[in-house]
């Protein structure tokens, strides 16, 4: 027990450390910007006084480490600073959009995870059959498609030609839950198509890898039914890899929404990030990056901890 506790604690500590380093990188990345941010944002026409005033407003006259500490302390209190473009509080901007993004990712996850796991297990069971080959070719292709291609194909057929779903998913808080799901069904489908392939292939590989092990042969030689072999003998040992696959793809869902959000003009975090990047609105870019990185790290951390917890050798030490 102490062993496993130690390992989990270690991972959690490492995760925290990574978060810290990532915040440092995001901060420093901007610090290393060649030239003067204030000058660059205001343009060549600005007078020296306005630039100096702007620098003071940004806090650029302070040494970097002080600014970093101040930034971090503010972050921990939920204060991300103000947008350069429209002077609004960044936390305000983030609030609604983060939930929108998570909502979209959740809808996609609800569709894709069960689908991918079922397909993966079936493909592993009937490997080298026609079904397996067809699924293999289909998934290989859909992995290869750029997201915007899938998105536009879906728009072309389901929105423009058939008119079943809206091609632009503008959701707002007033809409009912059902209406929101309906409006974001196309972006969610796009994400599903992209993610399912990867998840399904990895599930299949994990299970096939396991089916070759001597204890599965032993189970077959004990005359057990195929279903029981999969459920009782293969699955408990395949948990760790499957958890990993799911977590990686969930993380991908949250991060991968950027392009889909742009295509469908979905009011999420990714859209905000891309807009801010083209406007060079640096505080917003920093904030968005940090939120994305945090989600990504936390999901990976969760996967790590869960796969430790599902290892029988660690759960039952000598």
């Amino acid at each position: 027990m102490s062993d496993i506790g130690k390992m989990v604690a270690q991972r959690l500590g490492l995760g925290l450390l990574t978060l810290f380093v990532v915040s440092l990188i995001i901060f420093l990345g901007v610090e290393l910007l060649p030239g003067d941010i204030a000058q660059e944002i205001l343009g060549q026409a600005a007078t020296e006084e306005t630039v100096a005033a702007f620098r003071r407003e940004l806090g650029l006259n302070l040494p970097p480490h002080e600014r970093y500490i101040a930034w971090l302390v503010n972050l921990l209190q939920g204060d991300f600073g103000k947008s350069l473009a429209n002077k609004r509080e960044i936390s305000e901007l983030l609030d609604v959009r983060l939930w929108n993004t998570l909502f979209l990712a959740a809808v996609a996850a609800v569709i894709s995870v069960p689908l991918a796991l079922t397909l993966g297990i079936l493909a592993a069971l009937y490997r080298n059959s026609i079904f397996d080959r067809a699924v293999n070719i289909m998934t290989l292709s859909s992995i290869s498609f750029p997201e915007f291609f899938v998105a536009y194909i879906l728009i072309l057929f389901l929105a423009v030609n058939l008119g079943v779903f809206p091609s632009i998913s503008n959701i707002s808080e007033e809409l009912s839950f059902g209406e929101r799901v309906y409006r974001c069904i196309l972006p969610a489908l796009t994400l599903t198509l992209v993610v399912v392939a990867h998840m399904m292939r990895m599930t299949r590989a994990a299970i096939i890898n396991l089916l070759a092990s001597p204890y599965i042969e032993m189970a077959r030689l004990k005359g057990l039914k195929p279903g029981r072999i999969i459920v009782k003998h293969a699955l408990p040992n395949a948990l760790a890899p499957i958890i990993n696959v799911v977590a990686i793809n969930l993380a991908y869902l949250v991060v991968g929404v950027v392009i889909v959000e742009v295509v469908f003009v979905y009011p999420g975090l990714g859209q905000l990030l891309v807009d801010s990047v083209s406007k060079r609105d640096i505080p917003v870019v920093q904030a968005c990056s940090l939120v994305f990185a945090m989600t990504y790290i936390l999901l990976n951390l969760l996967a790590d901890v869960l796969s430790i917890l599902s290892n029988p050798r660690l759960l039952h030490p000598r």
């Binding site: 077959r220 030689l221 029981r228 029988p312």
Partner: protein, 551 residues
């Protein structure tokens, strides 16, 4: 209920034969073609009889064993013949019929119990699975039965051991637990697939005794598959000798062992009779290599404590011990891969640097090493020419035609035809040939001492014998000294001048071969010596009696 069915079957006057295989053919899939690997073998097994299947690797013995359950591994298929188990033709049976037989009436004991137990479940859960799933007995009954069987198989704490997970139990115990699991439904037939191959000799004897005992108690028929004739002669009533998927010879155990009819069987029997002629006492005071009071550890785990030994010029020192005894670690210390925490290694009286990185090229050259696994000891992407040529170029600066000539000469020394072999890749060589290339690579450096780390363990017995003879010839011709690390006492008897016996990182006994091999022995040496199976069908019973008497 099962037992009842069995008795009725017997009283019905059904035949005495439980399993017949007629003209069994099995094919394996390789290089996109099906190759036949078993060419029409006939097997007959009577109720309660133990039949030994013996052969070297590639003989098809495991494949035949699995076929007895109507099972073929992925990439194999049963392509012809009949497999009749108690009147049912397994080649024609449906999946459901086969499933009903497997585990309940035919059971299997795998080679590596550690891999064949599911790491996610406790031993007793895996035990109960077959009887409960086949509907033979309820879980509670099965559990009680398991504890009873664990006891009969002399497992420690039979009531509690089942509630442990596989990784919490030692290898020898796992193998017995697996035998118990196979017994769970009191099958008519058990297939034992090399059950003791992965075990140390002292553990092997316990497992052998347990298996023999339980098979006799329940009068179960068994197929006992192994490559070791001495082991099988303890276990089997009848023996079939196989080679390349064909039957060589078949007969009752005692006649086969005492008066074999075929040359191949005779070769197998003679395999442990090679003896090195005795040599003179070493001359001179300074040994070629001296290990002085070496203590070493991997991280914080101590593996060697106060090990000392001498190796004299032109002599063979055999270091013998079971896994974990520190014999290979001693070699790592000598070669400089593992710097010792205490003690030192002297070469001709001069201390060698503890790590190989700081040793001179000449020091490295004089001390060469040959490994256990020839498959991984030579780079599969290099040709024989480059493998043997590199030391010539590196140490002796021999290049061009001179190098080519020398490589050819070395190939001749290891009895391989230079024209045929010089351009081959390791993938085009057999295990024995690869080991010869390793020897040639070591010889190319013109060393004085060669460390042989279990060089024959991964090879078939006949091939191993040839390698030993080759090494001996090279020693006579070139005046090499060998440090011979092995767990196999037969090898020690064959090739050693001096013996060092190791146990748990310490030297328990060392001296000239005659002295160590003649009584009185050290207690552990005695245990080790008496555990080596002999080609005598009565050996196991005799040793067990002796040991019982001693207590």
């Amino acid at each position: 209920m099962n037992a009842e069915a069995k008795t009725t079957a017997k009283t019905d006057g059904q035949s005495d034969v439980i399993l017949t295989m007629r003209g069994l053919r099995i094919e394996g899939y390789a290089d996109e073609v099906w190759h036949e690997i078993v060419h029409g073998v006939d097997v007959t097994l009577r109720r309660g009889e133990v039949l030994g299947l013996i052969g070297e690797s590639g003989a098809g013995k495991s494949t035949i064993g699995l076929a007895a359950m109507g099972f073929a591994r992925d990439g194999c298929r049963i392509s012809g013949g009949q497999i009749i188990f108690d009147g049912i033709d397994l080649t024609k049976a449906s999946d459901d019929e086969l499933r009903a037989l497997r585990g309940s009436r035919i059971a299997y004991v795998a080679q590596s119990a550690a891999a064949a137990f599911n790491p996610a479940h406790r031993l007793i859960d895996q035990y109960c699975e077959a009887p409960v799933q086949h509907g033979i007995m309820p879980r509670s009954e099965a559990e009680a039965d398991a504890k009873d069987l664990y006891g009969r198989l002399q497992l420690p704490d039979p009531d509690g051991i089942g509630f442990r997970y596989p990784h919490q139990v030692s290898g020898g115990q796992l193998q017995r637990a697996m035998t118990a699991m196979a017994m769970a439904c009191r099958p008519d037939l058990i297939v034992f697939d090399e059950p003791t191959t992965a075990l140390d000799v002292t553990t092997q004897i316990e497992v052998l005794a347990a298996i023999k005992n339980i098979v006799q108690q329940f009068d179960t028929a068994a197929l006992y598959i192994t490559h070791d004739l001495a082991v099988v002669s303890q276990m089997a009533d009848r023996i079939m000798v196989l080679r390349y998927g064909n039957l060589v010879e078949e007969g009752e155990t005692r006649p086969i062992v005492e008066d074999p009819q075929k040359d191949y069987t005779r070769d197998l029997l003679a395999v442990r009779t090679f003896r090195k002629p005795p040599v003179d006492e070493p001359e001179g005071d300074i040994p070629l290599l001296r290990v002085e009071n070496v203590t070493a550890a991997y991280g914080k785990v101590p593996v060697l404590s106060g090990v000392s030994m001498d190796i004299h010029e032109k002599r063979t020192v055999a270091v013998v011990g079971e896994s974990g005894s520190g014999k290979s670690t001693t070699a790592r210390v000598i070669t400089g891969l593992l710097p010792p925490s205490e003690g030192r290694v002297l070469y001709e009286g001069q201390a060698l640097d503890p790590t190989y990185r700081k040793r001179s090229k000449d020091e490295l050259r004089r001390l060469q090493m040959i490994y256990q696994m020839p498959d991984t000891a030579i780079n599969p992407r290099q040709r024989v020419r480059d493998i043997i040529g590199r030391p010539l170029e590196f140490y002796l600066a021999i290049r061009g035609e001179e190098k080519e000539a020398r490589v050819r000469q070395l190939l001749q020394m290891i009895e391989l035809d230079p024209d045929d072999f010089i351009d081959r890749h390791p993938g085009e060589l057999s295990g024995g040939q690869k080991q010869r290339i390793c020897i040639a690579r070591a010889l190319a450096a013109e060393p004085e001492l060669i460390i042989c780390d279990e060089v024959t363990s991964a090879l078939d017995q006949l091939v191993a014998e040839e390698i030993l003879k080759l090494l001996q010839r090279l020693q006579d011709d070139l005046g090499l000294a060998y440090m011979f690390i092995t767990h196999d006492l037969a090898t020690v008897k064959a090739i050693a001048d001096e013996i060092v016996v190791m146990l748990a990182g310490e030297v328990v006994e060392q001296g000239p071969k005659q002295e160590i091999l003649t009584p009185p022995h050290h207690e552990y040496t005695e245990l080790l010596l008496s555990s080596v199976p002999e080609m005598d069908p009565d050996w196991l019973d005799r040793v067990l009696e002796d040991r019982a008497a001693a207590i």
